[in-house]
Amino acid sequence: MKSAARDPRGLATLEATLMIAMLVPLLFAILEFGSALERWLSQDAATVQAARYAGEVGGDTPEVRGLLADQLRGSGIDPSAVSIEIVPARVGWREPVRVSVTSQHPIAIPFLFSTMLPLRSSAVGRGEVNR
């Protein structure tokens, strides 16, 4: 009994467990937030392209939504899980048109929490169609 209590192997296992419990969340936080930031960058870039195109074709058209869906899909984002707003739906010549994209990115940190992080992107284009 006395020798078992002094066995250093048990202590090492306990220490390793405690270290893992502290270090793994840190590692996952870097990976998860890095992934979220990368996705946010991609979503921003797609939104800018869509705003530019919305101005060119005159507002909220299937072509704009198609382009946005393609760009998002190419960045690994499911377009069906994304909220898209194009205001106004029909833009006049030299009027501003705003494209907003919102998606939810799951963040899961072991031993701490898991949540959905909203990623919002917006860009303004200018109507180029002289109606």
């Binding site: 405690l18 270090l23 840190l26 936080a29 930031l37 960058l41 800018v48 501003p96 284009g125």
Partner: protein
């Protein structure tokens, strides 16, 4: 002993994590303001002098191209206002916007030669970095933005 060392180092590791995330957020912010300037320059370049185009067949920027560039730069920055350490209108107002309505032209700031009518936006955009402030660094990081656009 290892667990105690890790526990003692944990605050330091958390600071490193916070700094890393702040750097990542700054990268996103910088990309946003660069995209804002790019889009504003592009929109201003599309503002063609149609009378001159019909008369001469040559592309020439409209007289209000600089105003359009500034207005849309402010509009784009407004969408990222929480990331900025100054008002979007203030940043756009202080931006150096140069319009080269006819080509060829040489940009005295960059030395670049433009073969087409060009709009160039140069701006210093202050970005908020609150975590750096906590870490005793400057909580405001200034990003230099340069956007150039010419019609094709």
């Amino acid at each position: 002993m290892a667990a105690i060392t890790t526990a003692l180092l944990l605050p330091l590791l958390l600071l490193v994590l916070a700094g890393t995330l702040q750097l990542g957020a700054l990268r996103v912010s910088a990309a946003r303001v660069r995209a804002a300037a790019d889009l504003a320059a592009l929109i201003a370049v599309n503002d063609q002098d149609e009378a001159a185009l019909a008369r001469t067949g040559e592309m020439r920027l409209a007289g209000d191209a600089a105003d359009v560039a500034r207005e849309f730069f402010a509009r784009e920055l407004e969408l990222s206002a929480p990331l900025l350490a100054a008002a979007p209108a203030e940043v756009a107002g202080a931006a150096e916007i140069a319009v080269y309505a006819s080509a060829p032209a040489t940009d005295p700031r960059t030395g670049a030669r433009y073969d087409r009518p060009t709009v160039r936006i140069a701006a210093e955009v202050p970005l908020r970095a609150p975590v750096f402030g906590v870490l005793a660094f400057d909580p405001v990081i200034v990003v230099n933005v340069l956007a150039v656009s010419s019609p094709r």
